[in-house]
């Protein structure tokens, strides 16, 4: 019963870690998952989120076993 979190790029550097795990609870949003893993530290501006590798709004609900990723705007190409 857990949610896996991954962080990328500048966010990973500023947090000092690439991943976390939090216990699953019913009715958790993506933003709730961030808050649980980061002791209520506010999510930095412009950070995007993905659940199971699809972009989602921060208000999306997560399911047990989901992988949630947080990262800054993409800059490839």
């Amino acid at each position: 019963m857990s949610i896996t979190l991954h962080y990328f790029a500048s966010l990973k550097e500023s947090l000092g870690r690439a991943s976390d795990s939090v216990d699953y609870l019913p009715n958790l949003t993506v933003l709730d998952v961030w808050a649980l893993a980061n002791q209520d530290q506010p999510l930095p501006n412009l950070i995007l989120a993905a659940v199971n590798m699809d972009y989602v709004p921060l208000t999306s609900l997560v399911e047990d076993g989901d992988t949630v990723a947080f990262f800054p705007p993409v800059t490839g190409g």
């Binding site: 790029a9 993905a50 990723a69």
Partner: protein, 152 residues
């Protein structure tokens, strides 16, 4: 075909190899190619190298979705996308997008669509290492024009 490469690549060789091996001989009348190469300058600073990070799995998934969208919108026969990750130096290719179609409009439009969608959606991040020995994350992509009036 989508390739995420940790090693430098020659886009022209990749293009030739893929075109020879793919089962499209006799079908294509138009090939459009975009190659993105690392500059040694950005935002007024000299850049000596760059590190490209990606989200393994999500990157491939979104590139596949982008190519699928392009196939829905234009009559393309095949495509090849190669993107570097890891440490990159000036003049090294970062990305290759090639599109084959029977006709030029489909090839040109789909190629432009794929590179623009890649830059907007595919989870890659660039970190620049400057000549001053400072490093910084690139926070946004340009609109793609030196003269911004062109893009208005």
């Amino acid at each position: 075909m989508i390739v995420i490469s940790e090693n430098p690549f020659d886009p022209w060789q990749a293009l030739q190899d893929y075109q020879t091996s793919a089962a499209m001989q006799g079908q294509y009348g138009a090939t459009t190619v975009f190659v993105g190469t690392m500059r040694d300058f950005n935002d007024g600073d000299t850049v000596k190298s760059m590190t490209l990070e990606h989200y393994p799995g999500m990157t491939e998934k979104h590139l596949s979705n982008i190519i699928g969208d392009a196939k829905q919108r234009w009559a393309i026969i095949d495509s090849l996308v190669v993107h570097r990750v890891g440490d990159i130096y000036p003049d090294q290719p970062i990305v290759l997008v090639a599109v084959w179609a029977a006709h030029r409009g489909d090839a040109c439009d789909a190629c432009r669509f794929i590179i623009e969608a890649l830059k907007s959606n595919a989870p890659f991040w660039k970190k620049e290492h400057l000549s001053s020995d400072q490093s910084r994350w690139v926070t946004h992509n340009s609109k793609g024009y030196l003269n911004t009036k062109v893009s208005d």
